[in-house]
Symmetry: C2
Subunit: 300 residues, 2 copies
């Protein structure tokens, strides 16, 4: 059986009733599992993780998007995480018995249906991108919902599916295919967002830091702290431990400390074994050493 | 399908041709996988890990024991690891869809066959033990091959299967059922075995240290170093990171450093997530966050 991970992000992390109405159409469906639902109030955003047969996911995903359009109005949305749509992004990630090319096909099929059924303008990104400047989600989303009203009229930013105008309440959506990434947040014991911003700049690739790291700063107001929030887009080349230790090191410049970290969504087993190798000085820890790894049914 | 882990240890880790002859009967068998073969020259011992249906393992295990008896003579055996038999110990560990009680039955069935076919005296240990003083493998094995010649004649140490006399070349074997354990070695940058012995005493339960830790010292002559070698018999109660950090801390007393560590055999996923939680200050890392965990087929 083909297995993909699909990680839709939608723009409500505060109203848990709304969140439940949106994700309920994904529960108990044949062919895939709803692995996690992670609403974040500061981000005002929810990350959903599905695992299973992409064919089985398409219709439930469309039903889910229908709910987000019905229940979320981006004209009244505020949150720490950048966003351009009620349903903001839907990536497909190849996991088992499926090639990236097929994930791209599923992204395109879903994208086309999103426009045809709901009039949502759709940008294809990462491996599904139709143009080099659309590979990076952050470039597409720059300006966010508010800026997209005019940005989308620029021929350079006409959507891949749909007319060059945003949906009045649901904005626009990015649909794509990509390798697994790790969404990772590191908390600092300060409420000074500038410090998190400075550290984010130091570690991220776009400002001269580590390759495969995208990073920004967010305030977690209810806890009175800030976070360096990041995506590790290639965890085989840059491990979690390296980012964590680098943020710890930089934090000392500002007299603040790292007080913890969190993984949003799923983490691939190999990312765990890499970091454990570092911390315990292990020379022989591969995924093969992990008992459960051998219980996975593989078609070979 | 019932899944057990079976971890036979036999007393040759130097002669790789012999090792291969012994394990070859376990390769490409239906119903279970040969996950790993780990010969250690200093220990002069090989740890084998099987995973699968215990029913399918019994005959191949008997064939393997037949080979060890044929090829290993303990009268000429030297190594850093305590041992009492050519085939030294065979534990069954319940992994999926099987209860400990059933693992005990398989241990007894195998034990009886080992005596009937090869005349090996068999001690049942851990969950399969017939007496409280035989629960702990170290108590059974105390005196090793050389001491067992007379120890076994003491009615307190008559074997569970077989006559009270050792096999002249293959000694005696312990067969049992137990929870998963982690076999873990920590290397120090010294050749002074006393230091490793002192640290082992500090951390192990029997001398007043951490519960569920059995530890000793070994010399790795070819590397000019010593190791604290241990079994973590309940990794849910005592995590790897705690033992590792404690050994590091104790090592400073002697002016030596921990230069690395190694896991022998398999490690359960939960043992990884626990230690990663510690090192990265993660509050939410359970096995459920690991992508591959959801690819395991479970009968529920």
């Amino acid at each position: 059986m083909k297995v993909v991970q699909c990680v839709p992000n939608f723009s409500d992390g505060c109203n848990l009733e709304t969140v439940e109405k949106i994700v309920s159409v994904l529960r108990n469906q044949p062919g895939f599992k709803l692995l996690s639902v992670e609403p974040d109030a500061s981000y005002n955003r929810t990350v959903v993780t599905l695992l299973g047969d992409p064919e089985a996911m398409i219709e439930p995903l469309l039903a889910m998007v229908e709910k987000t359009i019905e229940l979320i109005d981006l004209n009244h949305h505020q949150g720490e995480h950048p966003r351009m749509g009620a349903i903001d992004v839907i990536p497909f990630v190849p996991i088992q018995n499926i090639k990236m090319k097929e994930c791209v096909s599923y992204a395109k099929r879903l994208g086309q249906a999103l426009y045809e059924r709901f009039g949502l303008p759709v940008f294809l990104y990462e491996e599904a991108a139709t143009d080099e400047q659309r590979v990076n989600l952050a470039d597409i989303r720059k300006g966010e919902f508010e800026g997209m009203k005019t940005k989308i009229k620029n021929p350079l930013w006409h959507p891949d599916f749909g007319k060059p105008e945003i949906h009045p309440t649901a904005g626009a959506v990015a649909v794509g295919a990509r390798m697994p990434l790790i969404a990772y947040n590191i908390s600092l014991n300060t409420d000074n967002k500038e410090i998190a911003q400075n550290i984010a700049k130091t570690i991220r690739h776009s400002s001269g830091g580590l390759r495969y790291i995208k990073a920004g700063a967010v305030e977690i107001k209810e806890k009175g702290i800030v976070q360096v929030t990041m995506n590790i887009t290639n965890y085989q080349k840059n491990s979690i431990y390296r980012v964590f230790e680098m943020v710890k090191m930089e934090a000392t410049r500002y007299g603040v400390s790292v007080i913890g970290s969190e993984i949003v969504g799923m983490i691939p087993l190999e990312a765990l074994t890499q970091s454990m190798e570092y911390y315990l000085g292990l020379s022989n820890l591969s995924v093969d050493k992990v008992l459960e790894y051998h219980l996975i049914k593989k078609d070979e």
